[in-house]
Amino acid sequence: MKQTSRQRWNDAASQLSPGSAQHHTLALKYVLRRLMEKRRARVLDLGAAIGPNVSFVGRYAPKLYIADLYNTIRSRAGGLPKDHKQLERLLAKELPSAELGPFDLILAWDLMNYLSGEQMVSLGRHLARLCRQDSLVFALITNSKEMPGQPIRFRIVDTDTLSYTIDSSLERPSPLFKEPDLKRWLPDFKVETSFLLRNGFQEYVLLHP
């Protein structure tokens, strides 16, 4: 019987933490350590508002912006628009304006898996405008062939652990982005480090040089 990505996730998670939907993270601690070096750090969370994340990140950065980008754009346009100009307009509207930045850390979670190369270029350009030198982006790129139909909601348990909630029962093929793809589509960023996890995700820390 074919195993769904949700089952694979649960299996992978259960290897790390039996009975719970959690997995180990290496990049989170990495970026938080860097965040601690900043004074009055600012964090942009592209994901949905998750209470424990706000409490957790609030310990490192007193100011954070929750963009809930995927849900907001989907509710306005019915999905991530393929039309370049429409996407540009939506990104300009839904991301915080440059005066609200620069942000020291951007939590992209697994959003990039749901973008095409062109969409990634647009997002990267907007994000770069919100960064300062040495700002970091935390992104999760899946190495599985299939992924949930919409971004996973990640909850920070502690600096080493993320738990996740999959809202969609649908699945879709994953784009299987590799590091060269990220370099090509995000020219304003460079890969500072990455970690391959047992659940099929590769955690990337991107640096805005």
Binding site: R40, G51, K63, L64, I66, D68, E99, L100
Partner: protein, 182 residues
């Protein structure tokens, strides 16, 4: 015999009358309510806790008091209060002197400024969270009373024609606080 003694008044030492002492007024625990069928355009202020089940468009300023936006409440206004709890929908900036809680049923689009912010699981929020500038907000001047402003116990609505101006631009932000406004 023992019963009689039980009812005897207790002898007390005569004491000199104590001078009048100014006691702090206990904070009002009364909760005013804006019912589900009530719609207000204007500024709401007062000295009581407030529960909003109807619609408000304008400004809510109840410094030192608690404001709850109930499940049926729809608020399009900035809210200033000691504690703010959202179970319904708010579009506007929330300034909590102590804390802001967005319950699971709550939806907020705006900016949150408070020393403590709690987003319950299932709540929807988009905007910035500033847990640093709250002290500035707490020590901000009380809101000046304006003509046509609903205020005080029992008075809750602005008179007809006192429609609120469009939402103020970023100039109402505390200085040096650009993130708290999207």
């Amino acid at each position: 015999m023992w019963k009689k003694k039980e009812y005897e008044p207790i002898a007390t030492q005569p004491t000199a009358p104590s001078p009048p002492v100014s006691r702090p007024q206990p904070r009002s625990e009364a909760v005013a309510m804006i019912g589900p069928s009530v719609s207000i355009r204007g500024e709401v202020s007062g000295q009581e806790n407030l529960r909003i089940l109807g619609r408000i468009e304008g400004k809510v300023s109840l410094r030192g008091q608690d404001v709850t936006v109930g499940k049926s409440g729809k608020v399009q206004a900035d809210i200033h209060a000691k504690g703010i709890r959202v179970e319904g929908e708010v579009v506007g900036d929330l300034y909590g002197e102590q804390e802001i809680i967005i319950e699971a049923s709550g939806q907020v689009t705006g900016n949150l400024v408070a020393p403590r912010v709690i987003l319950e699981n299932g709540s929807r929020f988009k905007g910035s969270i500033d847990m640093e500038s709250a002290a500035q907000q707490t020590h901000a001047k009380p809101v000046q009373q304006k003509p046509g402003t609903a205020t005080g116990p029992g008075a809750r609505t602005a008179p007809p024609g006192a429609d609120r101006q469009p939402k103020a631009p970023a100039t109402s932000q505390p200085p040096g606080d650009p993130l708290s406004r999207s």
